[in-house]
């Protein structure tokens, strides 16, 4: 038997609750092991010390009213439960009345229709609002765009869009006269005509040859 096992059985040994052979084993271990003998004495002293707590008692008359307090609490608990059940019962009764049941369905239907109409109205309103669309396209809040451009309403804002961008429809089309000086980018070599405004800009090719300078 090891020390741990023996120590767990000390109080059973002292209270004679062990089988004779187990008790003999524990006793033999105590003869052989000094540490366990010391530990057994300490455990016994601790048990005597803890047993003193049995003297901690309330005053003798303390329990006189215990039963009546118990009755009082049981009654209060029953009333509390009763009130709750009563309230639930009233609600159930109310819902069980035929006229209330009809009105309950009508109210639920009306609420459903109101929600659907509301959602549709909001959808239509959003589709009609160009600022809202522009705002969404720009990924910004339309009201911020109005504030920056000085436009007070979505419609005036929509009208001022071309001037804001400072381009005219012609800007999108290539000028025939300028086509000779066009130097399309290599990636656009196959394109029949320039597609970008910047394509029309001619840049004189830079020369790095040393000029013939005579001194």
């Amino acid at each position: 038997m090891n020390c741990r096992k023996a120590q767990e059985l000390f109080d059973d040994l002292s209270r004679e609750r062990l089988a004779p052979e187990t008790a003999a084993e524990v006793r033999q271990h105590l003869v052989d092991c000094t540490d366990c003998r010391v530990q057994e004495q300490r455990t016994a002293r601790l048990q005597r010390l803890l047993a003193l707590k049995r003297y901690e008692r309330p005053a003798p008359e303390y329990f006189n009213n215990f039963l009546s307090e118990f009755h009082h609490r049981v009654l209060a608990e029953a009333q509390r439960t009763g009130r709750w059940e009563q309230a639930l019962g009233h609600i159930e009764e109310l819902l069980a009345v035929e006229s209330v049941r009809v009105w309950r369905y009508r109210f639920a239907s009306a609420m459903g229709v109101a929600v659907v109409v509301g959602l549709m109205w909001m959808g239509v309103r959003q589709m009609d609002d160009p600022a809202s669309v522009a705002g969404q396209m720009a990924g910004t809040n339309p009201s911020l765009i109005f504030a920056e451009t000085g436009s007070s309403t979505p419609s005036t804002f929509a009208a001022s869009l071309p001037s804001l961008l400072q381009v005219t429809p012609a800007d999108y089309e290539p000028a025939a006269a300028d086509s000779a000086v066009l130097t399309p980018a290599p990636t656009h070599a196959d394109s029949p005509s320039p597609r970008y405004v910047l394509d029309r800009i001619s840049v004189a090719s830079a020369s790095y040859d040393v000029p013939n300078v005579q001194f």
Binding site: R4, Q7, E8, L9, D11, D12, R17, R42, T43, R45, L46, Q47, R48, L49, L50, A51, L52, K53, R54, Y55, E56, R57, P58, A59, F63, F66, L67, E69, F70, R73, V74, E77
Partner: protein, 199 residues
Amino acid sequence: MPTTECEIDLQHEDDEVLVRRTQRGDSAAFDVLVERYKERLYATVYHMTANHEDANDLVQDTFIKAFKSLNSFRGQSSFYTWVYRIAVNRTINFVKRRKNRNQYSLDDLDSSIQTDPDLVEMMSHITPRREVALIELHEKLNESLQKLSEPHRAVVTMHDIQGMTHADIAKVIKCSEGTVRSRLFYARQQLQGLLSDYL
């Protein structure tokens, strides 16, 4: 209130009979059960909480819970074990909740402690000023017990203070006797460190 003949008869009935009578609607039978176990339950709960008012509330709650649930009691264990289990579980939960609120409201020491041979012997070693040491010991014991974890405190209370057997404790806390012994072992080791001045 005068005790009726019926109540006197009930006092001598077994727990089993009283439980059956209560289940059939005889609340007077449950009163006898309350009277029979209130002090023992109070003592256990008190030693776990170290608070007089909390102990009273918890024992009252325990009996109310037992009264309300008695119809579900199938008699697989004794009534005492069953009601004890309710009390211990409620107390462990309560103590966990109030973890940071250690307010002691201790019961008085019974004056017969002065003649307890163990105490007399112990005090003669510790100090000649027995009165002071007794109060100090009283507080130190409670303080040390409160430092144990809830399951360890429950086991020490039931075994070393209440004198219950390992088998009964195992039934109450629904674990093996080996677990009870193991918890006792660790709890005592901790207590020996905390109470080394008195050992």
